[in-house]
């Protein structure tokens, strides 16, 4: 009997192994453009990651369904689950780059930092839409990395500028206290140099409250510190489970919500919704449209949601982070389209894609043609500026939904740009021998 069991198990194993061996492996079709998407639908950050993953996937899939792809060539989309883990992200990169990947969207600053040195070697651009290494905006040092429409440093300057406006002028920041609560990871630490610089320039005191990943859902100490320090404003760089916890804790210590401002990754409806009415007044930066009143979003509904070809529920359509994922894929799609125009090729490679992204010019007219009029500020990338330092706006939670409360606010580019250049030079020096840019400007 025991032998029978052993043999049955061995036979089942053999059949399984054979089945895996002969199963068709995904191979890039010669007539498609392959776009791997590094996503996270599992793990501690899935709460934010699922929205982004669905938005990215749906827009590209909708183009396949509606237009047959881009330029008549279908997009081959493959998701790879990273769980927001840098090691898994690199594994995803290594396992997909050989399939003709056009571009990588790591959706994690930690993974982005790992991929930056690989991009120029493998000739595949890295696109980190509104995250990653701020200094990568300097295109002459980082020709293979793009972080449009704006960087964390630009975002941090917008927050300080906005606070200055609320106080009646930047000179009134003198002597004020601004608290900075952040996920204690590459993402959250990224804007600190800029904030420290601005604190020195404008004379405010910067108080830092790091939140380790293990403490994301247990932040009472950080917020007790806030209560004791009594900062005039709180700024948050949070992601995943950190956001709803922080907003609940802020409400708990009765911090005035109208003086609490989050980065665009702390702008999810679920983040503020966890505290409901108690979160009314909470603000967050944003650079992508909210809602479903865009023809392209309606097309996603028609071609995918209504036909059951997506994992997206109808309620998720139009939410802040979902639309952010859509904007990410708009940049990918327009990069492919621009590359096709520049090279005359339908099926492009990573080098072509780099050129396409570098020549990207998403004008108001083009956004309208895409069915996304007003969805984003026009985005233009140049050879020198891979971020564009585009403006962002402020939205406020009214207890039920986010409402746009400001115009587009320009970052302090005059302050940020020299610091970005210095940081890029510093990066290339510390990572010597960093390759000199040899790629021709595509414009």
């Amino acid at each position: 009997m025991k032998h029978l069991k052993t043999w049955s198990f061995a036979a089942a194993l053999a059949v399984g192994v054979t089945a895996v061996g002969i199963a068709p492996q995904p191979v890039q079709a010669q007539d498609s453009n392959y776009v791997p998407l590094l996503t996270y639908r599992t793990g501690p950050f899935a709460g934010s990651g699922i929205f982004i993953a669905n938005g990215m996937n749906d827009y590209l899939q909708m183009l396949n369904e509606r237009d047959g792809g881009i330029g008549g060539v279908p997009i081959e989309i493959e998701e790879c689950e990273t769980s927001y883990n840098a090691q898994k992200g690199v594994e995803c990169y290594e396992s997909t780059k050989g399939k003709g990947a056009l571009v990588y969207n790591p959706y994690s600053t930690g993974i982005t930092l790992q991929l930056i040195p690989k991009a120029s070697v493998d000739k595949i651009p890295v696109l980190s839409v509104g995250y990653g290494l701020s200094a990568a905006a300097i295109g002459n040092v980082f020709p293979w990395v793009f972080n449009a429409p704006t960087t964390y440093w630009d975002g941090a300057s917008v927050v300080v500028k906005y606070i200055g406006e609320q106080e009646g002028g930047m000179e009134n920041l003198q002597g004020k206290k601004i608290g900075y609560i952040f996920l204690d990871a590459g993402f959250g630490r990224e804007p600190i140099p800029l904030l420290e610089q601005l604190a020195e320039t404008y004379g405010f005191e910067l108080l830092q409250y790091p939140v380790p990943v293990a403490q994301m859902q247990s932040q009472s100490s950080q917020w007790l510190n806030v209560r004791r320090d009594r900062p005039d404003y709180m700024v948050m760089w949070g992601w995943g489970a950190m956001n709803p916890t922080a907003i609940k804790e802020a409400a708990k210590i009765r911090f005035p919500m109208e003086k609490f401002i989050g980065v665009w990754w702390s702008a999810g409806e679920d983040d503020a919704g966890a505290a409901g009415q108690d979160a009314a007044g909470y603000k967050a930066m944003n650079f992508s449209g909210v809602g479903t009143d865009f023809p392209a979003i309606q097309d996603i509904k028609t071609y995918l949601v209504d036909t059951g070809k997506t994992q997206t529920d109808e309620e998720m359509l139009g939410t802040t982070l979902y639309n952010r994922g859509v904007l990410n894929s708009v940049i990918i799609a327009e990069g492919i389209r621009t590359a096709q125009e520049l090279t005359g090729k339908k099926v492009i490679n990573g080098e072509d894609m780099r050129m396409g992204l570098e020549a990207l010019n998403l004008t108001e007219e083009r956004l309208a043609e895409l069915g996304l009029s007003g969805f984003s500020y026009p985005i233009q990338i140049t050879c020198e500026d891979h971020a564009g330092s585009h403006p962002v706006f402020i939205q406020e939670w009214d207890g039920e939904r986010f409402v746009k409360i400001s115009d587009w606010i320009e970052p302090m580019s005059d302050v940020v740009r020299p610091l970005l250049e210095a940081a890029a030079a510093d990066y290339s020096e510390k990572n010597a021998p960093w390759p000199e840019r040899s790629e021709a400007c595509a414009q």
Partner: protein, 317 residues
């Protein structure tokens, strides 16, 4: 520097007594919640000598089942009862599929099995409930929300969240109930017999399998209570699993086999880390809470390896 370390924190405590009281309250609540997680570990370790790596994911699984059932139209209290049933089925399944075939295997094999169980529950949970965070049905379960503020003096203020008070009361009730169950009932005494010596317990007719199923079920109930309380403070998501590792220093402190130890250990860690973070954390840039508990545990390990209430094991060769 010496002033900042040895004098200033105490001056602050004296000058802002309301804030110090608030810190103590937060430490107490955190301690109670850590103790709840640690309790789940202790129950299983006592009965089977297994360090249940899956306790954290059981917290998530129980919370998600409760919220998931309610989202699908099941009334809150019925969802609670059904979730208790699910935890019972899970306990029975674990005993049949994981524990029973591994009787008499080395401890490390059992630990590995619970790691496997963790990944199974993560995948199974994500398959059924998805990865999105869910809002705990606090009000629907009749748990209190809101807060009470005690104001005194010009700026004195202590805020007590009603859900935190409820967490403390529920934790105390659970510990009392478990204490009575283990000390006063036949099954409880059988469980203690199993904990003392498997072979001897078997020889007097105690069913090891039944005891293990009961213990895993009790750990499941503790996981459910923990999931509700932590979920109400934040949300119910897979990120909650990470919190479970906070139980490790609690267990080292209190001992792996002691229920009172889990409570006392939890409270020491809760008070210790809050006071350290709030009064000394600033000296090193903050964020010491995540590792300070391990420092306390390490110091205890040096002087009392079996923990405060753990059994001192003397092995003669």
């Amino acid at each position: 520097m010496l002033y900042d370390i040895f004098v200033d924190p105490f001056v602050q405590m004296y000058q802002m007594p309301d804030f110090f009281l608030q810190v103590l309250w937060e430490g107490f609540v955190a301690g109670i919640l850590y103790a709840l997680i640690a309790l789940g570990f202790v129950l299983i370790f006592k009965a089977s000598g297994v360090f249940n790596f899956a306790q954290g994911i059981m917290v998530v699984f129980a919370g998600l089942t409760l919220v998931g059932l309610h989202e699908n139209g099941v009334p809150a209290f019925l969802a609670l009862i059904l979730t208790i049933g699910v935890m019972g089925v899970l306990a029975y399944g674990i005993e049949r599929v994981v524990m029973r075939p591994l009787v008499n295997q080395p401890d490390i094999i059992l630990l590995m099995a619970t790691i496997g169980l963790t990944y199974f529950l993560i995948g199974f949970g994500e398959l059924i409930f998805g990865g999105e965070p869910k809002r705990m049905i606090t009000e629907e379960l009749g748990l209190p929300t809101g807060s009470t503020a005690f104001e005194f003096g010009e700026r004195g203020l202590v805020i007590l969240q009603h859900i935190d008070i409820a967490a403390a009361v529920i934790a105390i009730l659970m510990v009392t109930a478990l204490g009575i169950f283990f000390n006063k009932t036949r099954i409880g005494r059988a469980l203690r017999a199993v904990a003392d010596d498997h072979q001897a317990a078997l020889s007097v007719g105690i069913s090891l399998n039944q005891i293990w199923a009961i213990v895993w079920f009790a750990a499941g109930l503790v996981a459910l209570a923990t999931g509700i309380m932590w979920g109400a403070r934040s949300d119910v998501s897979f990120a909650l699993e990470i919190i479970a590792f906070k139980a490790l220093p609690v267990l080292i402190l209190g001992g792996f086999t002691s229920i009172p130890g889990a409570i006392i250990g939890g409270l020491i860690i809760g008070f210790g880390e809050k006071i350290a973070e709030l009064y000394w954390g600033g000296l090193v840039g903050g964020g010491i809470e995540s590792w300070f508990a391990y420092i306390i545990a390490l110091i205890f390990l040096l002087f009392r390896p079996q923990g405060l209430f753990g059994e001192k094991i003397i092995e003669r060769v």
